[in-house]
Amino acid sequence: MQAWLDSLIARGAFGPHPSPDLIYGAAIAIACALVLFLVAVPFASIVTWVERRVWARIQSRIGPNRVGPNGFLQWLADGFKHICKEDVVPAEADAPLFRLAPYLVVLAFILPWAVMPFASSLILADLNIGILYITAVPALTVIGILMAGWASNNKWSLIGGIRSAAQIISYEIPAGLAIFPVVLMTGTLSMQGIIRAQGWAPDRWFLFANPFCFVAAVILFISGLAENNRTPFDLPEAESELVAGFATEYSSMRYLFFFMAEWGNMFIAAAIVVTLFLGGWQFPAIVQSPRLMNLLQLATFMLKCLFLVFVSMWIRGTLPRVRIDQMMSLCWKYFVPISFINLLGTAVWVAIFPDGNRFTQWLMLSFGVAVVLLFLARVVAFTRRARMELYFHPTI
């Protein structure tokens, strides 16, 4: 690529006195942006298919299974369908704002991918304020959604947009406070720095570092659900009351953008939790080749993220929607005070055990294992109660 750029410079494609460094930098930036875009957009689309299959199985249905093997190409068919539809702008809408809003939402979904720590050397920009950036940038979504709700000139859209704004801004606070315990322990805001402070084994994850961190991880995950308008916090697009909320008047590609951003943001929220609490890409150093090592780390990171994405689908298949007052009281009466207690508790903990406490880590890990085992026992009990055989078959 450098040779190709050199030949372009020699032919004077960039003016008489080009600066090679600037051109290389721009070319790399464009290439990386393209790669990320080409990863992020299909990912967000394929997740729609996975989600529909998971819900279907939770409801004892099969889900989309006609387009391609097991319906895998459903996302492609849906995408084409949306692109082929007419892009309607209502006559009374504020047309420029109406057209602009979906792009802001997608921008807020694409930007965090820049600091996603996929592997030890696979990160577009390891900002030293990475975690701050990743909490700040998705807040652009508020502007996009509020703009969409306002510009639609429709009461449902407006209520949806305002609910969304209230929700995202409220839950930013517990989410931010849930991040600080980790920052307190590591003393860095860089995504890679936080991951490097953890180990590959679960007892070295910050999830199990101390009880406060465990609670913080739960709060961060639930706040992530709320910020992405996921069930049980999908009030902004509550079908039964608001039609489709802020997306009511949208059609065609612009409608698709909103939902692509929503599903993509699931991954972002999961990646934040994985980075902060679940050890990120940490993988035991079993191979020498750095290239292979990076691949293994990438797989680890993606698997952890996909598991959390799966959990959020699972929650969507389980919990009903909360009321707006319940949502607000959950945030302000429960999450915010508990987050502050967590922050204080972690500060005291770090003062007492600056390098962590092995005994607590093991205790927390065994507590986590016990919870998982108890959960599995409950699952088996419920399956037995229905007198159904276990049927582990993900593709049917």
Partner: protein
């Protein structure tokens, strides 16, 4: 203190109920889906799994139609159009028109109830979608046919006897409410040649199985009881046995 205890009780309730709720949905996640992938990805056609008394699209066995017009008169919405004439020379009834408008039909079954031979009956077919209303009118007569005349004694033509047997089974079923199983093939075969006509006296009037007689044969028409010996008692106890499950 109460508010303080409530606060922690809320947290505990939220955690435990979500924990159990997630376990419930996870137990569904590992079960086999219930979906029947109608119409293509199913082991047997849906039509073949429906009960014998399923009220699908009407069909007429013209070979055993007596031309009595009972169905025409019984139809509450006049979707059956029949024309029957008497041939002056041969003194035979000739059916020249037998149309059923499936678009109008409401599948009430009142036409098959009075049919003496069971010629008009519901099938298990239900996929009747079409592009024009006209094509939904089923015309059973291409050229006028002579109406069936019940014989004294067994029916000589085996093909007609088979139709008659099936038809009489259909008629007979009205007398036994609750039995919705098709007759066992083994039981149906030996009676093909000996199937009695509607007005023909049965060779050996043996009462049907006691359970069925107690259930529904009290108000059974004579023809139904008479034709019972044709079918061996095997299917009846089976139907009676199924009853507690259905109830």
């Amino acid at each position: 203190m109460g508010a303080f205890a409530d606060y922690f009780r809320h947290i505990r309730d939220a955690v435990t109920t979500i924990f159990d709720g997630m376990a419930v949905t996870a137990s569904h996640l590992v079960r086999k889906p219930y979906t029947v992938q109608y119409p293509d990805r199913i082991p047997t056609r849906v039509q073949d799994t429906l009960p014998f008394r399923y009220r699908g699209i009407l069909d007429v066995d013209l070979e055993i139609c007596t031309g009595c017009l009972a169905c025409d008169r019984a139809c509450p919405i006049n979707c059956i159009a029949m024309a029957v004439e008497k041939n002056a020379q041969t003194r035979e009834l000739v059916i020249s028109q037998f149309d059923i408008d499936i678009a109008k039909c409401m599948f009430c079954g009142l036409c098959s109830e009075p049919c003496p031979t069971g010629a008009i009956h519901h099938t298990t077919e239900f996929e009747g979608a079409d592009y024009s209303l006209e094509s939904l009118i089923r015309r059973f007569i291409v050229e006028p046919v002579v109406a069936y005349k019940p014989k004294k004694g067994p029916e000589p033509d085996p093909a007609i006897a088979q139709l008659l047997e099936r038809g009489m089974h259909y008629v007979e079923e009205w007398a036994q409410p609750g039995s919705d199983k098709p007759p066992a093939p083994a039981a149906a075969k030996p009676s093909v040649a000996a199937a009695p006509g509607p007005r023909a006296p049965a060779p050996k009037p043996v009462p049907s199985a006691p359970k069925a007689a107690a259930d529904g044969a009290a108000d059974a028409s004579p023809s139904a009881v008479e034709s019972a010996p044709g079918a061996e008692p095997a299917p009846v106890p089976e139907a009676a046995k199924d009853k507690p499950d259905n109830a």
